[in-house]
Symmetry: D2
Subunit: 331 residues, 4 copies
């Protein structure tokens, strides 16, 4: 528990009140386990509708688990995953893709965190060579780990390129809601080019719940077994499902994301001379600010900090923080 | 949601009110993620005290995940796990030990679900033979999947045997609370012989939370990385931790388990002529009963059903069910 | 090097002279690596013809490697392999199927080492249950590890059962030559029901070479990548290939196997009162015999020994050995 | 079989006559399998002496297999391997490290194929962070895939850095002989800093044999099981062992390597204006040359070709080739 609003990560926020209320409402007597209950069926159906997904929506506990499950649907043992070198799957999952899937990541330097057909092409020269892992899946993060966002046109171009090259497209959507809010588009718009994608609840106000959304029906039959094998089959599934139901009701997910985005904009606007929410600061100022505020140094060498807003960051939180940043800078 | 109390599984029960209240109380503003928060630290410390564990307590989401994480602490790539053929790790985890750990299970037929030094010995002949997986871990379930329970003397004898044979002992404690209630002993008594064990919250009234308890301090350093790699690191960890805190407060876990045990006894007593909660019935009677009640046929060939009570099964639930069983049998 | 002919294992024999000559003949200047050479193409084509295989023949170094490669063609991550509990893949590969493939073996007790449709059926009850590994491949050894041999009728019945149940059939053919010699049938007869099978060269007079024969063409595209990934792609492939060419020329493989079989029969006939080449002996007699002769005690508890002949065991070897067995028994 | 001497790869050469003779000499009657024979013991002891290795020498079939076995001795599941991006383990093993070991490679761009303490340091920032794979092993190739060679001083500096940073050092020695010939040092000099290394026989005139040399005795106990599990335990081990014996006798390995090196120098000297054996050519000239000669285009974009000599490349081969290169260039 921190005294001041944290700018450390959107996963340091608590759960939205509506999510907790939904948990309480679901706590009515018995329900058949492992997802064969009305709450799970309703939430999964609602997600399928929102995403235009023919293959189903499946709940898991963490973002890493969602990525591993999603990718496991798409890969043979000798096939690899093209990703930006900054991708969460490459950097922040403690080697889960390699250990749990056994799959190689074919990383591409991408200064803004975004892949392009040109960047993907650099990993396609070795197709057919038995000494080389065969590129099969492209994974992108929307929004990326660097805070950038693919436009719908960019997504379309990636999708077309992947289909032409017989590559599958996976989207790590841990912050997909923020992308939808930013682009003013629907979840279905974001998912249209993907074969499989994740939809993050945890950073959007859930207690802890992620969904794996399967666009292609022919992949569906494998999911239950892989989810179970990967330790992600909740016995009391209803408590995962209703978190998503609460976020979907009256578009709470969108309001949460739009609010977090607005606070980031307010923060970026408040810090003139900085490059928005990623800011480069004097090390002494970083140290002084961190005495009172929670946030992370993103790049120790370049002294870049990352300030992150959440669905429950208030305008007052931002304004107080901005004032403190200025005060520190002038001290 | 079923109309009548389910006798299907203790994971069909909802969450205990105290657990839900704890979730709400923890929902106060921000907290640093991934377990570096006061709730997690308090609950982990409380578990360590209760178990006499020097190595720490770590929260995960499911029983399968707890078993995989626990076993992964104890195995080299060419080492195997001795278990009863009825063990959950062998039967009900969709091959997770083989897939996620890459480890072979060395199964032993055990009619009552319990291993003995003699049974374990049957798997030790090949030590040193490079063609054979080397036995390294013994895993037992307490209580077992067949509802039986190791006595403290049996546990001691297993522990001594394992130490003499340089075998590690893991306990799958998805229903460890029920064993403590049945034996009238402490959690530390149950854990005394183990190197690592799990402690199940979900079947004891949690929303969904399991703990991996590490007795031996030298294993601790590996846990955080393996937990993350296995997709089990909760960002908003506090919501896992407080579920255990709620169960530990005033020994709620023990009262829950004792109550579930008492209801099972009442059920067994009510069905004279049956072998307790595993009962063998006329197929026609099974079908008729299942129209109104939720429970599982355990063994289709032998027509054995399993009736399971939970922390929230009431005496009235049991009595109504028993009456219905008799009525059906006499129809 | 042992003084007397070994009855320990057919892999204790040296290489057949024709195999060594073939190595020398292939040692002519350069050849493109990794199998793109005329010797490999000729030997692979000859194997395909002999087996009636549409999918190709691929050379690897060991029997364990052949089994792992063969099975890896047939399994999804959550699918398992039905095998006899005495199968080499289960007992003698140090857990390679679990570690390298990540796949669970669903073992069936089979006193004579042979599976039947009835025995296989015992592993099919859980199809569709996400908590359980899904049976997908049946693997049999021909001849079995216990020296028994499936008849063509038995193979046909297994093949029909597997197709009806949508199971794939793999044959571990480390000693397939001995089966062909025993049954008086062709390799194509033995392979007719299989999807993939191995054909052992090492125990048939090779220096060290096994082939994975793929009956179904749609599996072929995966082999090169999996073979390379599994460490089995020979750069100087010609030296593997010509070993098989030497064995195939003028049916040397068949003569070798027929001879080894005949010597085993002679041995079994010589030891009246024993159950053929598996014999149960007084422990004192075993010890005395092993001072002069190389063979293995198969079952320490039952004092059963295994005597194994090879392609180069002579009638004199057998007769001397038999005389010694009798002398020892009467001492 | 190619008409003219291949400059494609040193694995396109045949086997040295002394190696084939050794195979024939070892083909004397029976020998106990799996390495418990006098040839294997003698060759392993000779390698240990040559390398100053306390932990033993173990024979396997391929370079990929040697690397996988060697690395598997040094890694926990959440630990990673620092390597140059051009390393064979990263580029040319079809993802075996990820699939067979489950381990992540932490790649570093290294234009000359050589790692330095400075380059390694770039991968050490995340130690202790549970979200990140923990760097544990540094692997270098000696000589590198780009034909460069670490000096003894560079090796010493790497060794000291690794020990100071608690990193293990593995050397991929597929062409270690060429490095020894180039540096004029012993195998023990090359191995002094390593924990484990491979020693390639195949490219040095063997039929197909690699050795894994273990410097540290405490690692030895694991090797037999891992080698078996990874499909690399030869039953007729003697035929692997004597290949190395033949290469070690009277330093044939060194003469082979020195000769191959000299031919490469002669080739490089012959092609003035080229950057040695990696040469950048007009695409039209490449095509014309490849009509008569076997070699590979290393980098399609930059039109760089790689010309490789072997232990059996003659001066006449080189001179004819050089003349042809000039003729083509002037056409």
């Amino acid at each position: 528990m921190t005294q001041r609003k944290s700018f450390g990560s959107d996963n340091q926020a608590g759960a939205h009140g509506a999510v907790l209320s939904a948990l309480a409402r679901a706590n009515l007597g018995d329900a058949v386990g492992y997802g064969d209950d009305p709450w799970t069926q309703r939430a999964a159906a609602a997600l399928c509708t929102a995403f235009g997904a023919g293959g189903g929506a499946f709940f898991v506990f963490t973002g890493t688990a969602a990525n591993v499950l999603g990718l496991s649907l798409l890969l043979r043992p000798y096939e690899g995953v093209i990703c930006a070198d900054s991708a969460h799957v490459n950097v922040d999952e403690c080697g889960a893709p390699e250990r749990i899937l056994g799959s190689k990541l074919l990383t591409v330097p991408a200064p803004d965190g975004k892949l392009t057909p040109g960047l993907i092409s650099t990993q396609l020269a070795d197709r057919g060579d038995e000494h080389r892992v065969q590129a099969r899946v492209v994974t992108i993060s929307q929004v990326t780990e660097l805070g950038t966002c693919y436009t719908l046109a960019e997504l379309k171009s990636l999708g077309e390129f992947c289909r032409a090259e017989k590559l599958r497209l996976y989207i790590d959507g841990a912050r997909l809601a923020n992308a939808a809010a930013h682009l003013g588009c629907s979840l279905a718009d974001l998912a249209a080019q993907a074969d499989v994608l994740s939809f993050g609840g945890t950073k959007n106000g859930a207690v802890g719940a992620e969904a794996v959304v399967v666009m292609a029906e022919e992949l569906t039959a494998h999911v239950p077994f892989l989810r179970k094998q990967q330790g992600q089959l909740a016995s009391k599934m209803r408590y995962l499902a209703v978190q998503f139901q609460a976020l979907l009701d009256a578009d709470l997910w969108l309001r949460n994301a739009a609010h977090a985005n607005a606070m980031a904009r307010r923060l970026a606007d408040g810090i003139r001379g900085s490059n928005a929410v990623f800011a480069s600061l004097d090390p002494a100022h970083i140290a002084r600010l961190q005495q009172d505020w929670q946030f992370y140094v993103w790049d120790t060498t370049a002294q870049v900090v990352r300030w992150m807003t959440a669905y429950d960051t208030t305008e007052a939180d931002v304004d107080t923080f901005v004032a403190d940043v200025w005060r520190t800078a002038q001290a």
